[in-house]
Symmetry: C2
Subunit: 325 residues, 2 copies
């Protein structure tokens, strides 16, 4: 079995979780890590068993042995960093939000295609087995005709610079709302007929609490809400005329509970045993590489672009423009 | 102890629940019931131990012994029926929605005041002890600084004429959304700065699924959704920076569960033993009568009017005008 040499661009919290994940994946070799601060990269490499550490992204990207780069810098910088990878001929797994706006996403996707390089958005929920199971259960009619979906997600993030700072494309939308939006997209598909939304702002001018309602061409409705001011119960609920389905933790689905129309629990489906949940996006990326594909079926480029356009539209309706835009 | 003679105007499903309730209230005497169809009134009286049955509302309202009239006809007819009661000098407990629109509500309240007659909206959740407990818990800081609230409610109502027919002021808004709106009002108060909403229509032109988000002057947000196409889990959740509170069944709160910010259940409060929950609004009404008050503190006239204006505004934004308006 070929071991894929992965390089990390960024050495923050998410990178640590990803490092812990790949350390348990026999297909992946923790190869290189780069951070602007070399001592930080060195410490990260030592802590997580990476062969090489770099204080410059460019330096790292010159290394011909890298099979895949995982980008986990703030999303304000994804465009720049992913483009840098592509220019160095590297395949990319880029954290969500894929970019700060759709224009950046379009440029990246077009350039990646021209270079015949894989690039895919590391929106982990899209790659999870339980996400697929949810659609199977609905298709099998377990809760009847489905018409409504709700999802919430919230974390205390007021002390996180990346989230509070408009210069870093901060706010709940790109950091958190992207999850319920992807949840709705996985279950109800792309045919949105109307978007209605509102938000509450922080003192720093980013969105702190979002309420987003998507109406669909087939008459369905998705009511989504998020906050950076508190933890929420993170539930996604899908309602049908024969019952409803509660997804525990839409951000990393652990369990799906099925209730009858009279609110009795009738079935429970657990997520299969996993490392952290990050492994599925990595497996999808190397699967695509092995098959010579430029995108992953779980999160195809048109979906990444569609979600970015949706986020752009919502942001515009709130009058939020990032300073660098 | 004086026994208050109650008369029912309307003999439908809600009237049956109310009849079962007052039969267990020592303060209340099941006195009279009227329905347009006399045989229906007679059968209802026999089934629920009412002394008198009438085939005409007017006939019943001439009876000088009646202390309080409970109106449970469709809300399209509340204005007409409540006015009839007041014109006959009768005190009124009128089911929600209080009227079809704020104009009707204002007329009723003004006339009731001029006649020095009690009138109060039978929005039962407002009168329940557990509703008051929720505010006490929040005030005591059990979940820290509160910023967000969500609530949903749904019932399968596509086979109910009253709900599906625009002529009867049908739709989810007046029948169901009024509950999460009242829930938000009880917890977050009246100072709404912005209303954002959308709905999905039925083939009959009434709203089937509503999404309503209320933003408040103090920066709070309430995300509310309802449906007549499925049952929902009926939960109200209030989020603070130290944890969150789940109210089981916002329509008749049974239990309040408190969770810490790391999602551990830390306390549970049960509703006190009750008959059906309808007794609290009846007790409040007779309490007001005994004290010579014209309204109930639990749901003062200005709140009834404010909620009706809110519903009017939402309806207008959806382009829904009832045929009789």
């Amino acid at each position: 079995m070929k071991k894929y040499k992965i390089a990390f661009l960024g050495a923050g919290n998410i990178a640590r979780v990803m490092a812990a994940t790949i350390s348990q994946m026999p297909q992946i070799e923790a190869y290189a890590v780069a951070a602007r601060d070399f001592s930080r990269a060195k410490a990260f490499a030592a802590a997580h068993g990476f062969q090489k550490a770099f204080g410059s992204y460019e330096e790292m990207l010159k290394d011909p042995q890298i099979d895949l780069v995982y980008i986990s810098t703030p999303h304000s910088h994804h465009y720049e960093h992913a483009m840098l990878c592509l220019e160095h001929g590297k395949k990319v797994l880029c954290e969500k939000a894929f970019t700060a706006n759709a224009k950046q996403a379009q440029k990246l996707l077009t350039y990646a295609k021209s270079r015949r390089l894989l690039i895919t958005e590391a929106i982990w929920t899209r790659y999870m087995p339980l996400s697929k199971k949810i659609n199977q259960l609905i298709d099998n009619g377990i809760i009847g005709k489905v018409t409504l979906l709700t999802a919430n997600l919230g974390y205390m993030e007021t002390n996180i610079e990346r989230v509070m700072n408009p210069d870093l494309a901060g706010g709940a939308l790109l950091d958190i709302s992207i999850y319920p939006i992807n949840f709705a997209s996985m279950v109800f598909g792309p045919q949105i007929s109307k978007v209605t939304s509102t938000c509450v702002f922080t003192d720093t001018g980013v969105d702190a609490m979002d309420s987003i309602t998507l109406c669909y061409e087939d008459g369905k409705m998705a009511v989504l809400n998020t906050t950076i001011l508190s933890r929420t119960n993170r539930e996604g609920i899908i309602y049908g005329d024969q019952g409803y389905m509660v997804v525990e933790n839409i951000n990393n689905p652990e369990r799906v509970r099925i209730f009858s129309a009279d609110q009795k629990e009738i079935a429970v489906y657990e997520a299969p045993e996993k490392i952290t949940g990050y492994e599925y996006e990595v497996l999808a990326a190397i699967g695509a590489i092995e098959e010579g594909r430029l995108e992953c079926a779980e999160m195809p480029h048109h979906e990444t672009l569609r979600v970015m356009k949706l986020l752009d539209g919502i942001r515009e309706s709130w009058g939020i423009k990032f300073p660098f835009e």
